[in-house]
Amino acid sequence: MTDPGTTLEIRTDIRRGTFHLDVDLTATPGQVIAVLGPNGAGKTTLLRIIAGLQPTGTGHVRVGGQPWDDPAHGVFLPPDRRLVGLVFQNYRLFPHLDVLDNVAFPLRARGTRRHTARTAAAGWLDRLALTDLARRRPATLSGGQSQRVALARALAADPLVLLLDEPTAALDAHTRTQIRAELRHHLSSFPGPALVVTHDPLEALLLADRILVLEGGHLVQDGAPAQVSRRPATDYVARLMGLNLYSGTLTDPTTGRVDLDPAGVLFAAGYDPHDDEPHPAPPAGTRVRVAVPPSAISLHTAEPGPGSARNVWTGTVTGLELLTDRVRVAVQGPPDALVDVTPAAVAALHLAPGLPVWLSAKATEIATYPADHDPPLK
């Protein structure tokens, strides 16, 4: 599993009109990396560069130290000479071949005899529970079945690197859950590095042991799922993870006072840059992020008594949204906040848009962390 032969290194810098992709990434064998980002962030382009379907602008693609794409040295391996398995978002199964021959295709392409290729393909069908579909044409398959066949076909090529582009985006909710569980199994047993492009945070959290966030062609965050979900670097990630995220300046390290942009003050009890041991607070003036879960904030219709919470501020309710068992209340501050309350609380407090409220949050539920990428949050 730690064979250094299949480490993937990619460095790319492409500009095409307004599109810009600037990524520097090393993926180690066995690592499952989710590339998370909004549409148009360059996620699919990144996969296409690794697969050789388009060249890297400047930079390189190396696998196990071997250059696949290195314009500085005039190296470009065409896709058919790279050992890469790419599962396309729309599967791209060959309509004129049945399931068995689709999966046997990569073996046949490398000159394996038909019988041997089919035997090997049948093994993959067996592993992905597709044996019953062996003689079916792709047009007769469901989305989930097509996804499985596409994965079997990619794995049958025995790739060094596995790439999945939005693997569950085209599936219905029930099938999605099932396919995710299967993908988790197959990805964890894949020996090389695997990249899964997705815009679904849950998928990233379930499948990956490392999450890259790509926004506007730039890597804005790179970390373990637990870190990304609790310490989002940008508004986009915070929204995906359902957190209130603020940027500001640590003005008093002893009290943990943070002056937020553009207005508002929060007191945070801890400072933990990398989500492990508490660290000594940095000097005053340090730019920080503050993440506050909506469940850590309470709403009151009268000013709360002293001593209950360090953070108390006023705001106006601007909207309410029913989540399955909670109500998410949007409050205009400063600072603005999303607050989760029970439906009973909505009734008791007569919460409605326009209602002035007090908000409170305990300092112990708030953590600050360094702003690694510091374009100011919107």
């Binding site: 050789g52 379907l53 058919d80 000479r81 790279r82 004129h96 392409a109 490398r110």
Partner: protein, 287 residues
């Protein structure tokens, strides 16, 4: 006027677009269009009917087995098939280049290779003589280096027919290759398939209906070739005298034989049309 249904109206003022805005109903038939349409249909059908009505049905077997008709038919089928195979071997790669390159020169090349579509076949025959004749541009070297002389041989018939028929195949196959899914070629590449293997295993099978249509079209065109053949290959019994040439000659001496031979060519055309119907409608689909 409230009921919209297919009917023949006597008013020349009511055109389909005015009276039935809904496209789910068939338009009414209007005289200014119906009269020339009928005349056009009759113009195309009456000669065929005449052929069928005037055919010497009783003597048909005798005529077809005598007077070199069978030999001519055999030669025609042989040459048309050979010309189709040549067109496939050269035309499919050419169609692929035209479909897959985006260079300005491609546009010019496409115009030039499809020129024989509109060129009078006799002109094609003359051009072939100038190129491949004994003293022609290329033919001269064929004669001195290999001792080969093409004109007035069966091979010349195949060359003439290929020249005239191949453009039909090229444009049909190019259309099919264009509509073939490029995404699947990309997928094949990521699965380790080189460009030629992808062409053979993915692109061609997906373009198969277009290939069949183009092949049949080229074959039919080659079978009926007259002008280029008689100019470049001449008119020698059993060597270059194909069915169309035989029909033309027979008309002078033995009109019954001409009609009988025409009937055979008509039957062949109808068979081709029947074969095309299934594939012609949806070229480029992978079924």
């Amino acid at each position: 006027m409230s009921r919209i249904r297919p009917s023949v109206t006597s008013s020349p003022l009511t055109s389909p677009s005015l009276t039935s805005p809904s496209t789910t109903h068939r338009p009414r038939i209007t005289w200014p269009l119906a009269v020339p349409a009928t005349a056009g249909a009759l113009f195309l059908l009456i000669p065929l009917a005449a052929l069928l009505l005037r055919a010497p049905w009783r003597h048909l077997p005798g005529i077809l087995t005598g007077t070199g008709a069978l030999g001519a038919l055999r030669l025609s089928l042989l040459c048309a098939t050979a010309a189709t195979l040549c067109s496939l071997a050269l035309g499919v790669p050419l169609a692929w280049v035209l479909a897959r390159t985006d260079h300005p020169a491609t546009t010019v090349l496409r115009a030039l290779v499809t020129l024989p579509l509109v060129l009078p076949p006799v002109v094609g025959g003359v051009a072939l003589l100038l190129a491949l004749g004994r003293t022609g541009l290329v033919g001269r070297h064929l004669a001195t280096w290999f001792g080969v002389s093409l004109p007035f041989t069966t091979a010349a018939v195949v060359v003439a027919e290929t020249f005239v028929a191949m453009p039909f195949l090229v444009i049909t196959v190019e259309g099919a290759l264009r509509s073939a899914d490029r995404d699947l070629e990309e997928a094949a590449a990521t699965l380790g398939s080189g460009p030629f293997a992808t062409f053979r295993r993915v692109t061609l099978p997906l373009a198969a209906p277009g290939l069949l249509a183009g092949g049949v079209l080229a074959w039919a065109r080659a079978l009926g070739e007259f002008g280029a053949t008689i100019t470049f290959a001449g008119n020698f019994p059993d060597v270059t005298r194909t069915m169309p040439l035989t029909v033309y000659l027979a008309l002078e001496s033995d009109p019954d034989a001409a009609v009988a031979l025409s009937l055979v060519l008509l039957a062949t055309s109808v068979a081709v049309l029947a074969l095309l119907r299934g594939t012609w409608m949806a070229p480029g689909t992978g079924r």
